[in-house]
């Protein structure tokens, strides 16, 4: 007998959309704040309140909120199981949004009060972890994607716990190991949570958007094990101050990332859809950027480069060219999917409906992505060379492009 599966997988569009719209506004806010603080960027001074605010709007307000929204849409379809409780999701959105906005602003205006909004953020994120955890538990059979997403969620939890201790320190100043904790916060959040999540969903989305067939995914499991091992070694290196542990950590991260990149290359090579959508190509290009950044970090670690400014810009490139670019590219696919499903799903077979490609301005997207790449590279290079005018110009370009990018996403909602 031919097995049947007919699962209703669509989530109420308002839930993912609320997160994504909040994310877009935060993205503009973050870039604008960075533009207003280019003097600090030019001088390589990153640990200052206004930049904390920009960083948290960028990573929590934009990246985390968009990822949460995307997961509310993607988890049900990728794991073939509905979201555990949608109403709980709306409450989670409200708490997280208030917490993230409050925390970001407090870090600049009243750092000792950040603990209050930080606690609210932690509560919102814990609710999200609980929601997704309960959803994944309903999945009948775990696969490698479950491991990547599950691993990402564990590192997300560790990130917010480390973040909570950091805000505790701002309020009460009792922590001795502040530097190690701060580095752990970055490693857990950037390399653990975001990267593992992008890995996991790429194994689903890249074959889907390229209509690939007959690929092996043979590096998926080794990539997961190697990347997680690398993360653990990095953390051990940070807390023990053993340089060789950091180098080994970067080595394992590089092996993991390379394995993932090799799998993605095979998937793209075996695609049936020869002409890929440009925004999706941007997400694929970000994998190349990610690999170059991992390679550079490994080489820097091997040659004992300890210059804080260079490492700070490496982290910036990691955030922008790997994490943010991946998210930006995928969002150009995810939002049309969301809106199309909401607006036209019930009209298929009854009247003419547009294709997803007709809902986005692909050429405009390509220009924005190219401008974004140029802006980030110019910013990083000229900041390291301490060229304030160029830094100001590049960040201005990034702010304008972010605004136009958000506008192009909002435009989809008018189609």
């Amino acid at each position: 007998m031919i097995p049947q599966m007919q699962t209703k997988t669509e989530t109420n569009i308002k839930l993912p959309l609320a997160f994504i719209l909040f994310g877009l506004v935060s993205f503009i806010a973050a870039q604008s704040l960075l533009w207003m603080n280019t003097a600090a960027l030019s001088n390589g001074i990153f640990r200052m309140p206004d930049l904390w605010m920009a960083a948290h709007f960028l990573l929590l307000g934009w990246a985390v909120m968009v990822v949460m929204g995307a997961m509310y849409q993607l988890v049900p379809v990728a794991f073939l199981t509905p979201i555990w409780n949608e109403r709980f999701g709306f409450i989670q959105f409200f708490i997280t949004a208030v917490g993230v906005a409050g925390l970001s602003i407090a870090l600049s205006l009243k750092p000792d009060a950040a603990i209050i909004a930080g606690s609210l953020t932690v509560l919102g994120i814990l609710m999200f972890l609980f929601q997704i955890g309960m959803t994944l538990l309903k999945q009948e059979k775990a696969n490698i994607m479950s491991w990547f997403v599950g691993g990402a969620l564990v590192f997300f939890l560790l990130t917010i716990l480390a973040g909570l201790f950091l805000t505790w320190n701002l309020a009460f100043g009792t922590l001795v190991y502040y530097d190690s904790l701060f580095k752990s916060h970055l490693i857990f959040g950037l390399t653990g949570w975001f990267t593992l999540l992008i890995f996991g969903f790429s194994y689903k989305m890249v074959p889907m958007f390229s209509l690939s067939h007959g690929f092996s995914m043979r590096w998926a499991k080794p990539a997961f094990i190697s990347y997680v091992s690398g993360l653990i070694l990095l953390i051990l290196g940070v807390w023990s101050s053993a340089g060789w542990l950091l180098t080994f950590g970067w080595g394992f991260l590089w092996i993991g990332f390379t394995g993932y990149a090799v799998d993605m290359e095979e998937i793209v090579t075996k695609r049936i859809k020869k002409k890929l959508d440009q925004p999706f190509v941007f997400s694929l290009v970000s994998i190349c950027f990610g690999w170059v950044i991992h390679t550079s970090a490994l080489v820097m670690s091997m040659f004992h480069v300890k210059d804080v400014t260079i490492w700070s810009w490496m982290i910036y490139l990691y955030i922008m060219m790997w994490i943010i670019f991946s998210i930006m590219g995928y969002l150009y696919k995810i939002v049309p999917f969301l809106w199309w499903t909401h607006k036209y799903s019930g009209s298929v077979g009854k009247k003419d409906v547009p294709t997803l490609k007709e809902m986005i301005q692909e050429k405009w997207g390509t220009i924005l992505f190219a401008a974004m790449t140029a802006g980030v590279l110019i910013l990083a290079v000229t900041a390291m060379l301490e060229m304030p005018v160029s830094v100001f110009t590049a960040q201005g370009l990034l702010t304008i492009v972010s605004l136009l990018y958000a506008g192009s996403i909002f435009r989809v909602l008018t189609r």
Partner: protein
């Protein structure tokens, strides 16, 4: 034209919005059965399990078949085995993806 053929013709109008190709040319429709009371049973698949357009394409196929004169009841069954493969596509679909 017999009813099975009319149903197949109707399914040519259901377009996968991601690929812009109809589901018959994509090779997603496995079987069309019409019984003596003109109830239609269609077995179809999707290019991948967990396709976000899962519900839309199935309900679109149902709506299109209901639009065929003389059709009584419609049941579209989504199956994953045998899995879809590119060989199931028509040459027209393959050309469109080049």
């Amino acid at each position: 034209m017999d009813l099975t053929k009319q149903v197949e013709e109707a399914l040519y109008q259901v377009i996968d919005p991601e690929l812009g190709i109809n589901i018959v040319d994509l090779g997603l429709v496995y079987k069309i059965d019409v019984n003596e009371t003109n109830d239609v049973h269609v077995q179809m698949t999707l290019t991948t399990p967990g396709c976000p357009l899962h519900d839309s394409i199935v309900s679109g196929a149902e709506a299109m078949i209901y639009g065929v004169d003389e059709v009584n009841d419609v049941h579209v069954e989504l199956v994953w085995h045998p899995a879809w493969s590119p060989e199931k596509m028509s040459s027209r679909a393959k050309e469109m993806l080049m």
